[in-house]
Symmetry: D3
Subunit: 249 residues, 6 copies
């Protein structure tokens, strides 16, 4: 089974760390392919970048020309999974949803610890849309920017643990969800420090993707995620029309 | 006062009919500028096209280099307003939200009549996110595709009236909302036929934009809609990097 | 266009300050008429007074015998708008609803800062009924009685700012709503101090009333707000039967 | 123990039939006093009349100068109980709430069968405010006006049974609530016809009032229902200032 | 009238104190019978024990072979009332529901003060299922184990008052609900200390049971609580098949 | 990895068909052990039987004295998983939750098709408690009793397909969930007939259990599901004290 794990930002090193986390979670016989979008921001920390990522992820998956069995969208609280579900036959699993689903199996309430405070509303909105918010005790920010997650591991873990402990003590959380794709692989360190189960969305999504594939289940094409109607789409897929040199700061 | 009214699809004639509807609603002294995205689908009838529109609208507004006072995003139930609110200083009003806000002032419950059945979930999700769903009696589809709205007016009105009457009779609606930017200008014809107030989102959004500008109110930059953090964004704005000739069917 | 702005209490000086705030928000060509009920409390700070105001406002509007285009009910969190909507052909806009509607266009969550703690449940209940509570972060009291709002402006502003800052910092609010008709005109001072957009319900209601009138939209008469059925109503309108001299403390 | 049962309309014969229903439900040792407001509509079938009733009920209770132990407000879905709770030391029980509370003890979901369709939103709003709507399957109208309830009993029962049966069969109701004070005493006839428990709000309220009095429980004066603050209230209580001869049609 | 009050644990002394509280609340002419399950835990402080209690209570009631008019299940936040409602003709009142229903009549919001923190989720879940949570301000734990409630009364009252005061001051509660059957009889002491009405679920349930019996109302047998279908049930009722000597620690 | 799949009724043939379905879904290397409770009903079709099953399942798992990695509770909409989570170290997955979680990944809304109408409220309540109801379009009954599922497969499939098609057409469902453990193995036949993805809870639960075990995730012991406190429990585990010969009809 081959699972595409698509980063939502253009930082290749982050794609690689996500891919590693995914591969570590995968069952024997599952191949994980990491994909980086051709355009977009080097980190998604707001709606503008997240919408760009939504399109860049669809564009990147369309450009992949080998067979695959499932797609994991590896951005936490990001836009776009609904579009991907229309475009693709294979099941699509978003890491936000995946983490919340597994967390709900493990305790009465879960809290998300994410990066910056401004990411909180995006995550809250995704959980609301996904029907996943009634057991969410809180979404807390660690204050770390996305790219800071690639810094010293102990600093990163400390910042996450601080919020996780507050969530457990003050918000009634019983499970912690790591609220950024870039936190992949930190779950066990935080679990050890807090004593609560910690769910990493990338790993969770890989397992759910494997589960769906294993059961022969695919996205329903009945209504919402039916394939796009045939129509004229100017400059689509965008990456075929973009000169890939430019960037803005 | 100058208001940018941005179509979400690339069909220029639809931009023009939206612009006309907006101009008709505007107060004396308000200039309405219609904008068409540089890329994207000729009609938005699903999530994939809607996400593309979200980015194309942001891209189009950034390319507009004259001063303006407010932006109206003229797609019903489409993605993107949150990104635009980050990018732009001026107030941003989405026609979905605008229509729902005014409808809630006019009756106990409102129903939306939109185009295709597959647009229903997008609208329901936008109303949910906007906190606008508790007085929404139903979202009904007329069965018309977006571009069919440019056909014979009486046929279009008939199809909308049919669903509006069911909404009033069976769903408990007391107000009807036109669920597509391309329905701009049909409100009075449907009001006459149904006896209920009919809200056209484009007109509603123009009035709300004028209201905000008149009161000196702008999007809060406190957290969610703070300007994007400075960072490297590959190929952004996209239209500067796209060769604008290509299209796919 | 003529808009009736009806105070909910019998304090004439407050009617005048509300009228001024309304007039300042109105477009050129809009005439604002301030009305004071013939009976009721000199300030509404609870349900008993609010119900009395509901009736006194209907009574006062019925006694107005010139033409008008819209009615603004200028009590925050007060009862009565549903009755007025039945009685009157023209659109009716309550300042609570108006403020919340505009606040929802400006940020992810808003908080209301009102007068006394005992007013909080009335406001929460009105927002719940209006379908306006899902983006309300909190309703906070400044501790000021309604009539204290007519005191030294800097003291009043200080008390409101204190709660507004807590709302922004602790409750996740991004927009502040002034939770009393008597706070009309303080919005810009508080905006300056807090850095967040501040919505004054009286001004918001005038703009929404102008918008509805401009679009030719009126209250739906389909069901909930259909005119009262013909029937015997003892002593109605009350003011025609009341000797207007009496008062109780 | 003496319980005041206050009609919300000015029709004395309806007060009497409500009083009879209340007395039939009361325990030995409970005296039921029926009160009719001094002003207001001869039937409440909408918000305007309901707000007038809210004030007239408060006014009527204040005019009662003997001791009493509890007050029952005998209007279904009417405004006003919150004001009465502020004014009065003794417990106040509204028949809408009372019926819903008992119905929730008897089955998974209940439906209300009321008079006219236009009363439905008032009842829905009261149940929402009372926190009583999550087990409400539906509110259905029998099509009968309030005063028509005083007509031939079999016709009235037939009309109610018709809707009750639809509620049981189509809406998932398991218990029926009689949605008008004027239906007092019809419960057993409808129970026999439908096979489901039928709750009469007047009887339910008497029992709940007796329960509260028996347990020494009174309305909390902590915040929401604290006594009104001392202040000038023009023409209050209204009935002392009204010449009680006038009426309008 | 005879009411069975069934303890959920096997501690006879607690059954007796519950029975006393129930008898004190009962009207003249009501006989209260206290029942102790034949098996189960000596205190219910979690789901495992609560499920066992659900079955033990059904079993105990089935073994009671005298006539009775109503059953009170005297465990706060415990499982089982739905099963009992299927098995029994007479009305069944759970003390959690009873307390919440009466509390909702007395104030805008109520808080529950219970025993251990781990009981909080059970109570929250029961209130959610019962449709009783929208006016619940909080569920707070006193830190006392169930059997500690049988210790020095002043210590117990102190621990409850401490949380009650926090609920009133910080959570917006206006009424306090005693969140354990073993707290029966402490209501007045806590009322005196806090100034807010205090509802004891056992007393409340007795009054509601009397009310239902007095009105001739029984559990609906329409669907959810219809009698169990005839079928083979191995070892049921359990107590007839259990050797009643064994216990585990 | 060894997964215990526990039937909730005492019908051995149903345990075997559930075990087969589970084994078919399991990955190579996963051993599935089917367990039948020692007491309880031969089918669970209501709350009384379901509570008995809750206890019997806990009892049965405690009696299993070999090592295992996860437990699947194979009753749809049944009580008990919270107790099992307290008793057991290994992850516990309920088939109701499992099916809903996977269904939510596959489409905008799902419907459950279950056995008898009286099972509907149990399922609705479990989905509500599990935080899984916001994307549930409907719970429909096929009219088949649990044991009838062991009859002619085509009859069973027909009855389920009839309701599934109504759910897809009238309720807005896009995914179908099989609402009884005894329907295990019918998913592909119904998928073929309806064109929508069909989720079998037993298979789903096995996959989720494998996922949790694979990721080293266990039930949180932080609060709700902490091990029961040490205490005296009369006759527990029940099966050690029961003479296993008796049954009642």
């Amino acid at each position: 089974m081959r699972i595409l794990v698509v980063n939502v930002n253009t930082t290749e090193s982050m794609t690689e760390s996500i891919r590693k986390g995914a591969a570590a979670a995968a069952s024997p016989g599952t191949e994980v392919v990491g994909l980086t979008p051709f355009f977009g921001a080097d980190s998604c920390e707001g709606n503008m970048e997240s919408y760009l990522a939504a399109v860049a992820v669809m564009d990147r998956v369309l450009a992949y020309d080998e067979p695959y069995d499932a797609v994991v969208q590896a951005g936490f609280g990001e836009h776009g999974q609904e579009g991907l579900k229309e475009l693709v036959e294979a099941p699509v699993v978003d890491i936000t949803d995946a983490a919340a689903h597994l967390a709900m199996l493990l305790g009465y309430r879960y809290s998300v610890v994410t990066t910056l405070d401004r990411a909180v509303p995006l995550i809250e909105e995704r959980l609301l849309l996904g029907g996943l918010s009634s057991h969410c005790a809180s979404v807390r920010s660690s204050g770390l920017g996305v790219l800071e997650l690639e810094g010293e591991e102990s600093t990163v873990v400390d910042a996450i643990v601080r919020q996780a402990e507050l969530a457990l003590k003050e918000d009634g959380a019983e499970v912690i969800v790591l609220g950024c794709g870039g936190m992949a692989g930190l779950d066990k360190a935080i679990e050890e420090r807090t004593g609560a189960p910690v769910v990493d969305g990338v790993a969770a999504a890989v397992k759910l993707a494997e589960s769906l594939v294993g059961l022969g289940l695919k996205t329903s094409k009945v209504r919402t995620y039916a394939p796009p109607r045939p129509k004229t789409i100017v400059s689509w897929p965008l990456s075929r029309h973009i000169s890939r040199d430019g960037s803005s700061a």
